[in-house]
């Protein structure tokens, strides 16, 4: 099953090491293949280095694609992650 959704990058410093780690840790629990796409480029969402080099600033729209049997659940969980308001995070900034 293929599912796509649009997400807005909530983190002040973009997808830096902390959110990237959270994303990868979450997605690795699922079988689906997962990708972000931005500026017509596709990035493997389970790879730290791809996320870190992806040009996604705070407030920017990015597209997420999940391919696999658990795709639906992946998207739901990822949406939660993107919507989480992280107080400590905003205080620490990008550390």
């Amino acid at each position: 099953m293929d599912i796509t959704c649009k997400l807005i990058v909530p983190w002040e410093y973009g997808v830096h090491i902390r959110p990237a780690t959270k994303i990868v840790k979450l997605l690795k629990k699922f079988d689906s293949e997962t990708y972000f796409s931005i500026h017509n480029k596709k990035y493997n969402a389970k790879k730290m280095m791809e996320l870190l080099t992806m040009e996604a600033h705070c407030g920017q729209k990015i597209e997420f694609l999940a391919v696999g049997s658990d795709a639906e659940e992946v998207v739901e969980k990822l949406k939660v992650l993107f919507n989480e308001y992280d107080e400590e995070e905003s205080q620490l900034g990008a550390y």
Binding site: I17, R18, A20, K47, M48, L52, T53, E89, A94, Y95
Partner: protein, 575 residues
């Protein structure tokens, strides 16, 4: 692979496994491995081991920071990056034949280049994450630091920038067969330690040490100053053979212990030992020393940051008891310059020309007094002499005597016993003292020529600066004339003269010819020197000395002396 240009401290061949104690963050060069299956597999395993260690370390940090989730997750991220880079790094090793360090650096560089092309602080943070990851991996690839010394098996070759006295104190010296350093020369701390302990060392190898990796098989060629790393079977066999031969000659040297140290024409020469620690007395005696001619007391500061009177007293008493009435010449604290030990840290532009040694003792007189009190108190336990270092003028000596006298008065007032008539001498290591040594003859019992510093001050060469190492010429006519002058003056006025310092047997031959009867040496050089003395005559040495004083340069002198020593050793039938 052979690295040249090191300075051999002790002759001999040593083979061991490299242990990287410290090094500057290496500049990663483009380096390749051999393109065969075995080399590739070895390199992959080496990388995987380092990665495993790095991951383990990161997990530990994650755990330690677990209560601040937003910190600990960063290290989790580092770990994820490490894990996902594995495949690419192994690929670079397997298909591009990159050395593991280079493979890591290459990949991280690619990431970094990618990020650097973006602007803003956003990415600079990520860059520092990557740098951190790279450094962690490289650390585990190149350094052995996280090993426990206890786990190490003989034979170890220590690789370091330069061994500091405090590092040396922690090393398991019984497991170490060799030391290789980036900096330093014949008289650096590393060299002195190595000689005293009978460890082979090659110092001043420069950046060459960066090519040595943890657990590499390393051969130290103490005859040439070269280091061979990761030798082929053939090379290794060749050196092992040489090593065997050398062991045999060491064994034959032991036989000479039974003989008196005298020339063939029955001239007695006294060979004493230099020590840094009372525990070395046994070694010295086992090597045939007739006593201790130089006890470098400043090394008390290596094990005790604030030694008190009792610390000093116990050390001296211990040494005296072990020596059982043999001579012990205690040199008062010679701190500063290359032996600062972080105590009186004053930054000086020219530490060797600065407030060091006796000057430091005058400045911090209370420290000096503590030592003198301890020496005087210990004097009742044996045959002890006091020696003041770095004396440059009659005033220096006067000042030192005043303090000594005042400490003696204190002890008398307190009814504390000390030996009467303790011999007092001075180090002759500054040209001014050498030239005017006649001014001291009525006040002191002996002169001890400190060759290391005398060479440095006569020739204006910082002996710790490898840039001027080639100017450090111990057989320079100026040095020889000064030494000769001191010997003649001392002998004329019946003031005993000796030499302590790192000198070769070739120079000893010349100095015996000039009239010197006493030498204080590293314990492990004693038998070698004794062997030469037993094979020569005083007359022969006198002829040689006469000739040596006519030479105009260091090189000719050394060449001539080497030839003479070889001749003496060749004709030696007694062994």
């Amino acid at each position: 692979m052979e690295i040249q240009g090191g300075v051999a401290v002790t002759p001999g061949i040593t083979v061991g496994k490299a242990f990287i104690l410290d090094r500057e963050q290496p500049i990663i060069k483009q380096q390749f491995i051999r393109q065969d299956k075995k080399s590739i597999e070895n390199e992959k395993q080496r990388y995987l081991k380092a990665q495993e260690k790095a991951i383990k370390e990161l997990k530990k940090i994650e755990k330690q920071t677990a209560d601040t989730k937003d910190i600990s997750i960063i290290f989790c991220g580092h770990r994820l990056i490490l894990e996902e880079s594995q495949q690419e790094i192994l690929h670079k090793i397997e298909h591009h034949f990159f050395k593991a360090e280079y493979a890591v650096h290459h990949l991280m560089q690619t990431y970094q280049d990618h990020l650097s092309s973006r602007e803003g602080e956003l990415y600079s943070r990520r860059l520092s994450d990557l740098k951190d990851i790279e450094n962690r991996l490289l650390k585990h690839l190149t350094c052995s630091k996280n090993y426990s010394y206890k786990l190490l098996r003989k034979p170890i070759v220590i690789i370091a920038k330069e061994l500091t006295p405090s590092q040396t104190a922690l090393l398991p010296l019984n497991k170490i067969v060799g030391i290789i350093t980036n900096t330093g020369g014949q008289t650096s701390h590393t060299a002195i330690v190595a000689r005293t302990r009978g460890i082979n060392a090659i110092v001043g190898l420069g950046e060459g040490t960066n090519s040595i990796f943890a657990d590499d098989t390393v051969i130290l060629d103490g005859f040439t100053g070269n280091v061979i790393i990761r030798p082929t079977q053939k090379t290794l066999a060749k050196y092992k053979k040489l090593q065997q031969k050398q062991k045999k000659s060491v064994a034959s040297l032991q036989k000479i212990k039974a003989f008196d140290t005298e020339t063939k024409d029955k001239e007695s020469i006294h060979l004493l030992a230099n020590i840094e620690n009372p525990s070395e007395v046994e070694t010295a005696l086992a090597q045939g020393a007739k006593g201790v001619g130089l006890y470098r007391t400043e090394f008390i500061y290596v094990n005790h940051s604030h030694p008190n009177e009792e610390t000093h007293y116990n050390a001296y008493t211990q040494a005296l008891r072990k020596l059982a009435n043999r001579t012990l010449i205690i040199r008062t604290l010679d701190l500063g310059a290359d032996k600062d030990f972080g105590l009186f840290r004053t930054i000086e532009d020219n530490p060797f020309l600065g407030c060091r040694s006796i000057r430091l003792c005058f400045k911090y007189e209370h420290v000096f007094r503590v030592q003198l009190r301890a020496i005087l108190r210990a004097s009742v336990h044996g045959n002890l002499s006091i020696m003041f270092p770095m004396i440059s003028s009659v005033e220096d000596l006067r000042k030192a005597f005043d303090v000594l006298q005042s400490v003696k008065n204190d002890l008398r007032k307190e009814n504390i016993d000390f030996a009467q008539n303790i011999p007092v001498g001075i180090m002759i290591e500054i040209p001014s003292a050498a030239l005017t040594c006649d001014l001291f003859v009525s006040d002191v019992d002996f002169f001890c020529i400190g060759t290391n510093d005398l060479v440095q001050y006569t020739l204006a060469v910082d002996r710790c600066n490898e840039n001027v190492a080639s100017y450090y010429k111990f057989a320079h006519p100026a040095v020889l004339r000064l030494v000769n002058h001191v010997i003649q003056t001392g002998n004329k006025h019946s003031v005993k003269v000796s030499i302590c310092g790192e000198i070769s047997k070739e120079m000893i031959l010349a100095f015996i010819g000039m009239g010197l009867k006493e030498f204080s040496l590293s314990p492990y050089s004693i038998l070698e020197v004794k062997k030469m003395i037993c094979g020569m005559t005083l007359q022969q040495a006198q002829r040689i000395a006469k000739r040596v004083l006519q030479y105009t340069n260091h090189e000719d002198t050394v060449k001539y002396l080497c030839k003479k020593v070889k001749g003496i050793e060749k004709n030696q039938v007694l062994l």
